[in-house]
């Protein structure tokens, strides 16, 4: 087992240097206060209305068949591959190529898992309409289950663990699709929802008239539709990465392996506590913003501004895993007898990417929240109403930097 690693891997990142941590924190604070005073007073983003059409129609069906074959190939490794994790490509294909790779792929090309999702090969025949109140809740639960397997389960990289997860995931998606059609996949498939949320930051998106367009990531973010469970989904992403950040701290390692509760129980409690902490902070700050701004029902309408913060932290967290353990996936898949270069990126590069990703996410989040505030709140209260939102983002960003610096 690896407490250090995200499911797989033989190393983890060094703490970022003190200077990087303070420079990042300072930048986050300055940007937030400048945004309050200097950004526009009337909403500028047009969300799903914006964008320049591009004439590309990717062949969805063949791509999904290819992705189904890759799934079967991965299952083959998991079922028949060697028992030693380091020799089995299966866990690397799941954790590194698929789970971590989904972030850069979606950032570049938009909601790629919608295009590649093999469950979309099933016929889109809904027996009944998807209840609106279900929203993204199934996706939030699915992401929680996957991050639990990755970060808490006793043997995250064991083929049996991954096969059990994939079997459960497959059964849920199959049932959901047979009952509710593809609407289920759009809202309930954890990986499709994940990829689509991250993909809202990409320059490629779909306009409200259905055209594939090039658009600014700010319009992309603005096009996120507030649905029940959206806040929960974002909180699961932020909270689980946060838990991953502190779970290698010596006090926590010691508590996990020597405490009276046992590691699975304590690990589960820690993961849930991290997610609840993120959610409580969100609820408190949005509540304060609503009180100051004199508006109600704000909670789902600001969830989009947390997406870039979560993505920034995901990039900071997984960058080195992708470039380092990605090599092992490549070597194992192609049966090459090479060595993984653990220092293909140095600590300086990793720290720089981490801080830039966290601060970049923060800046985009602040701008998105500002635009949404001036749209939703009465002009006289729009600036004051934003203060709790910025406090929230500063808390998340400083929390993220602290984890990168201290743990």
């Amino acid at each position: 087992m690896n407490v250090l690693a995200h499911g797989v891997g033989s190393r983890s990142d060094l703490p970022i240097p003190e200077f990087y941590a303070y420079a990042g924190a300072f930048a986050a604070l300055v940007v937030s206060f400048l945004a309050l005073g200097l950004l526009w007073a009337d909403s500028r983003f047009r969300g799903a209305e914006a964008g320049v059409p591009i004439r590309v129609s990717p062949p969805a069906r063949p791509l999904r068949v290819v992705s189904l074959l890759l799934l079967v190939y991965t299952l083959g490794w998991l079922v028949a591959g060697p028992a030693r994790t380091e020799a089995n490509a299966g866990p690397y294909l799941v954790y590194v190529v698929f789970w971590v790779g989904l972030v850069p792929a979606s950032l570049l090309f938009g909601p790629v898992w919608r295009l590649l999702n093999p469950f979309r090969l099933l016929p889109d025949r809904a027996r009944r309409p998807l209840p609106a109140r279900l929203g993204h809740w199934p996706a939030a639960a699915g992401l929680l289950a996957f991050t639990w397997v990755e970060l808490v389960s006793p043997e995250p990289a064991a083929p049996a663990t991954l096969l059990a997860f994939l079997a459960l995931h497959g059964a849920v998606q199959l049932t959901g699709t047979l009952v509710y059609g593809h609407a289920w996949l759009e809202r309930g498939d954890p990986f499709e929802v994940y990829s689509t949320l991250v993909g809202h930051l990409s320059p490629v998106g779909r306009r409200s008239d259905g055209a594939l367009v090039l658009r600014s990531p700010f319009n992309g973010l603005d096009a996120i539709v507030p649905a029940p469970g959206l806040v929960a989904t974002v909180c699961v992403l932020l909270g689980s990465t946060g838990y991953d950040g502190f779970s290698s701290a010596p006090f926590w390692v010691d508590a996990l392996q020597s405490g009276p509760l046992g590691r699975t129980v304590l690990g589960t409690a820690g993961l849930l506590a991290a997610i609840v902490a993120v959610a409580v902070l969100y609820a408190a700050c949005i509540g304060a913003a609503g009180l100051i701004g004199g508006a109600r029902g704000m909670s789902p309408r600001f969830a989009h501004s947390l997406v870039p913060i979560a993505v920034g932290y995901l990039v900071a967290h997984y960058f080195s895993l992708l470039v380092i353990e990605g090599q092992r996936a490549f070597l194992l898949v192609f049966g090459l007898d090479g060595e993984v270069d653990l220092e293909i990126v140095g600590p300086g590069v990793i720290a720089t990417v981490q801080v830039l990703a966290v601060i970049g996410g923060h800046v985009v989040g602040v701008v998105a929240a500002h635009d949404r505030s001036v749209r939703l709140l009465p002009p006289a209260r729009a600036v004051a109403g934003q203060i709790p939102l910025f406090v929230l983002m500063v808390c998340y960003t400083l929390g993220g930097l602290t984890l990168l610096f201290a743990a």
Partner: protein, 128 residues
């Protein structure tokens, strides 16, 4: 274990310490021995005891600079397999006998030292 016992163990192993073995990670020369070697100047050292599933001292960080020699001296009360991640060094732990793993920390990052059967993290190496 008494000094005489250590000497005896060394003699039995024919050639005190220096049980170098090649492995699947060329470039990381290391040695595993059932003795406590004399400290080398500039070497980082950690002595860890595992008793009844508890690690003493509790798992912490060992701060290293790249290229620094390291000695990990591990005594376990049960038979187990020690593994230094990243450097990919395995060592067999014999009950009650201190086992020394010596290597050069020649790559940067955070690496975990753990036991395979009891699944305990003994230490995290922070190599800068």
């Amino acid at each position: 274990m008494t000094r005489a016992g250590v000497v005896l163990a060394c003699l039995l192993l024919a050639g005190c310490g220096a049980q170098a073995e090649t492995h699947h990670n060329p470039g990381t020369g290391h040695e595993v021995s059932t003795s406590v070697p004399a400290p080398v100047a500039g070497e980082a050292r950690a002595e860890i005891t595992i008793a009844a599933g508890k690690v003493e001292p509790p798992p912490g960080w060992l701060e290293l600079t790249k290229g620094q020699p390291v000695s990990l001296i591990v005594t376990s009360d049960v038979a187990d397999e020690l593994h230094v991640h990243g450097f990919d060094i395995p060592a067999t732990l014999v009950p009650g006998q201190p086992v020394t793993v010596r290597f050069k920390a020649d790559r940067t990052g955070v690496f975990e030292v753990e036991t395979h059967d009891s699944k305990l993290v003994l230490l995290q190496l922070r190599v800068r």
